[in-house]
Structures are given as C-alpha cells and as structure tokens.
C-alpha cells in the first residue's frame, strides 16, 4: 500500500514538475499511437464500409479473417514486423527498425483490423431499408456511402477509441520493433516494464498512472465529440 502511495506521489511530482524525460516518453507514446490510429482509420473505415455494403464471393471468409485480426496478439505482429524490417530482411533497405516509424507500422497493423471490424459492424447495424431510401431519393453511390457513414458515426467513433486504446496500451510489438531505446523509442509501456524489472516499482506505478491519465484525456476528448454530435 505504501508503495502505491509512493507511486502516486512520484507520478504527481513527475507530472507537475514537467520532468523532461517523462514528457518525451509521453509525447512519443501519444505521437506513435495517434499516428498509427489515424492511419488505421484510413484503412479500416473504408475497408469495413466496403465489406458491409458489397456482396462478393469470399466475403464471409475475409470477414472471419478481420474478426480474427481484432484479437491479433501484439507480440506476433512485433515478431513478423521485426523480421520483415531487419536490415537483411525483405524491407531492410528502408532502415527503419528500432525507430518510431517501425512502431507506427506495427501498431497500425494491430489497430487496422479492430477499426475495420467495428466499422463493419457499425455499417451493418444500420437499417437496410435506409440504403434503398437514400438511393430512391436520387443519391449517387458515393453520396449514399457518405450518408450511411454519417448515420453510423457514433459506433465509428467507438472504433477510433478501441483502436487507440488497443495500441497505446500495447507492449509486445513496441518493445520488439522499437527496442525501448532511451530518447528514441522508449514509450510509456516499455518504460514501465523496464522500471519494474529494475525494481523501481514506484516509478513504474508513476508511469502507469501517467499512461492511464493520457488514455483518459484522449477518450474524454473523443467522448465529448461523440456525445455532442449525437443525432437527435
């Protein structure tokens, strides 16, 4: 119990003292996971919408893959991305292993199926007659997709939150492709694991608290956006 109090005390000291190392680690977490989430939206929302609206052979099979991908273990992603990015590997010429860019790629691979799966469910949960009605009113195909996405915007925002939550809290892939390098690829989760193994439990608790606060602030912002624009 003392330890947890000490952790909270350290967390407050670090946060309000604007500890430069803590700031850097926190920004990197936010930057990497934010960029990865943003990229996964560009992939996931169109993919989910397409799967929801289009009938084609093999569709069920692809949907089952997407649903499996929602539970993709980060360590597995980390391992494969590492091997692909090795300098003697298939994409080695890019020389991006152990950089934040590599972490963005790995996290994007983790988040994209989550966003796709939730977008798919969101679009499918719309009343199918809505499509007919929109088309009957003379909308073209893109206008229809846009209107449907508007209609599904609340669950689509949930997809954003789930994707972001999945990657900001992820450790296996970040550790493998990033290497937890001080000042370069150390993020809140990898720093927490390292401090725990160093025995700096109070500092590890402090980092966890900062991570929780960060996730809370991001989700609070998104929730505000979501609830403000609730359809009447």
């Amino acid at each position: 119990m003392e330890l947890i109090l000490e952790g909270i005390r350290q967390a407050l000291t670090l946060m309000f003292g604007l500890d430069p190392e803590l700031l850097r680690v926190t920004w990197l977490s936010l930057l990497v996971s934010g960029t990865a989430t943003l990229l996964s939206l560009f992939i996931g929302i169109p993919a989910g919408t397409f799967l929801a609206l289009q009938q084609f052979p093999g569709r069920r099979f692809i949907i089952s893959l997407v649903n499996t991908g929602m539970g993709l273990p980060p360590v597995v992603v980390g391992l494969f991305v590492t091997i692909i990015l090795w300098r003697n590997g298939p994409l080695g010429a890019l020389r991006i292993l152990y950089t934040p860019t590599a972490m963005v790629i790995a996290q994007c691979v983790i988040a994209a199926p989550i966003v796709t799966g939730i977008s798919l469910a969101a679009m499918q949960s719309l009343d199918p007659r809505l499509r007919l009605q929109i088309l009957a009113l003379g909308a073209n195909r893109w206008q229809m997709v846009w209107l449907l996405m508007r209609e599904a915007r609340l669950p689509l925002l949930a997809a954003v939150m789930a994707g972001f939550g999945g990657v900001i809290s992820e450790i296996g892939a970040s550790l493998m492709v990033g290497g937890n390098i001080l000042g370069q690829t150390r993020v809140l989760t990898t720093a927490t694991v390292m401090e725990t193994s160093k025995g700096n439990f109070a500092l590890a608790i402090a980092l966890s608290i900062v991570l929780l606060v960060l996730v809370y602030v991001v989700n609070l912002t998104l929730t505000n956006v979501q609830q403000r624009s609730r359809p009447l």
């Binding site: 930057l31 934010g34 960029t35 300098r87 152990y98 725990t196 160093k198 025995g199 403000r228």
Partner: protein
C-alpha cells in the same frame, strides 16, 4: 458531423505539432562540434544487466559525444544478442557468455573479441536457507545440495549468459533438473527473475551488479559467492563485417575501441561505487584474457 471530423483532425494535428516541437527542442545543441561519421547508426546488442544496472546510461552518451555515432542499444540476453549478430542484424555485441562467445568467434560470426570487465555471480536465496547451502565453498556442491533438498530454484531459462552459466553448473552437479517441480524457469530477464524468486522464497543465481542494484527490495541473501566458476566475464565483439554489407564495421570498431579505452575503463571501475558502496564492475581491458 463536420464538427466531430474537425475535432479529431484538430486532436491529431495538435499531437503532431507538439511532438514536432518536442523533437526539435530535444536536438542536442552541441552536435555541430562533434565529428560526423558516414554511417552514424550503430546497433549494439547487449545483456539486460548492462541496461538494468544503469551502466549503458552512463557510457553511451560519452561514446556518442566523443565520436558522433548514434548507438541503438538493444538489451536482450546474451543468447539473443549473439543470434542477432549471427544474422548480421547487429554491429557490435557486449556479452557475458564465454563458452558461447568462443563458438560464435569460431564459426566466423564475430571478430576482435576483447575483454572489457568482470563482476561475479552470487547464489542467493531466502535467509531461512532450507537447503542449508550458506557458506558452501563450491558452486557445484551448492547446486547438488539444492537438488538433494528439492528446494525451489528459479532459473532464467532464457538462454542468456547467466542462464548458460547456470546450466553449465547444473551439468557438473549431475544434470539440469528440467521438469522437476522444484525447478522453475521464468524465461525473462534478471530483474523479473529476482522478483519471482523473492515472492516464492526460491534460490537463484544472479550477477552481483543486478543484485546490488535491486537489494533494497529483496528478502534474499547472498549465500554462496567467490568460487572461481562464478566469475562473470564481459567481452566486446565486433560482428564480422563480411557477413553483410550492411554492417557498420567502422562504428563497431569505434565502439569496441571505446569500451577498452583507459578513460572508459576508469568510468566503469568507478560506476556504482557512490550509490552502492562498492563498484558494480571491475575494469579488465588489457589484462590477460583466460577465456579467449
């Protein structure tokens, strides 16, 4: 609708801009004066003990300032460190697994293996000492006693330098007790393994540096120490540049030279003395290398 799209875009743009500012602010101002090597990035694979003890945090900034290289230290077990070297995915290794290192050099994966420093391993356990090992002179006899008593032993089990030494000692004590209920493998680094041994009141073997750094929150005492096989020897090895054209041979050479330079050795010899009352490592560069 439009409002929430703007909201999200604003949020992410904010993140990018702020992160950009932080990135710029953190660029070291003194870099203009440092030398600029053609290939500045050096990948160092090393053991967890050099990271967890804090030694790298002291040495790497020194090296980067002196030479202009940028080191990417990847802290893994010695086994993985060498496996990455073997694939040409590392430039230089700082490891402590002498037998495996010898095989690594023999197979042509590495060159120029040089002695850097040593400390020693200690066998630790609960103060109650159920296997009555305290004060045993020989490490092998200690392991025999633990096996006879079926006393809980927590092993790294991760193919690291510490793990290799532990397995070697078990081999001499009559075989690795794999599969025995009292012999448990964590598969993780030294710090985590110490936590597990501490919680379960088990015996384990650890390098002294990590033990000293962690002593304050452990209920485990040093029970057996100072036997010759318990020496923990660190070598620096350059990955053979013929393995892959992508290996930064010059950077590896510079780092290896740095590790054995008198000034660096002085820092290693003093490291930890202030905080723990005794140094964590003993500088050895240039001494006769019995493990070569």
């Amino acid at each position: 609708m439009v409002r929430w799209v703007y909201g999200i875009l604003l949020l992410f743009t904010g993140v990018m801009v702020l992160a950009g500012c932080v990135g710029q602010a953190s660029a070291p101002p003194g870099l203009a004066t440092a030398p600029k090597p053609a290939h500045p990035e050096v990948i160092l694979t090393t053991t967890t003990s050099t990271q967890d003890s804090g030694l790298l945090d002291v040495l790497l900034p020194m090296f980067e300032k002196q030479t202009g290289y940028k080191v990417k230290p990847i802290a893994v077990g010695s086994g993985q460190a060498m496996a990455l070297g073997e694939r040409g995915e590392a430039d230089v290794l700082l490891v402590h697994s002498p037998d495996a290192e010898a095989r690594f050099i023999e197979a042509g994966h590495g060159i120029n293996r040089r002695l850097v420093m040593h400390n020693d391993f200690v066998i630790i356990g609960p103060p109650a000492d159920p296997a009555k090992i305290k004060g045993t002179a020989s490490a092998v006899d200690t392991f025999k006693k633990i096996a006879e008593a079926n006393a809980l032993f927590i092993s790294r089990g991760d193919n690291s330098g510490t793990d290799a030494l532990e397995k070697k000692l078990w081999g001499q004590a009559g075989g690795v007790p794999k599969g025995q209920p009292w012999y448990q493998e964590t598969g993780q680094g030294m710090g985590t393994t110490l936590n597990v041994a501490n919680e379960k009141d088990g015996y384990t073997i650890t390098d002294r540096a990590t033990y000293l750094a962690r002593k304050k929150d452990l209920k485990l005492d040093v029970l057996v120490e100072k036997d010759q096989p318990l020496l923990n020897i660190y070598h620096v090895i350059q990955v053979n540049p013929q393995k892959s054209p992508k290996i930064n041979a010059a950077g590896a050479q510079a780092f290896a030279d740095f590790m054995v330079a008198p000034e660096t050795q002085q820092v290693i010899a003093e490291f930890g003395r202030e905080k723990y009352g005794e140094p964590l490592f003993f500088a050895d560069a240039g001494k006769v290398d019995e493990w070569n």
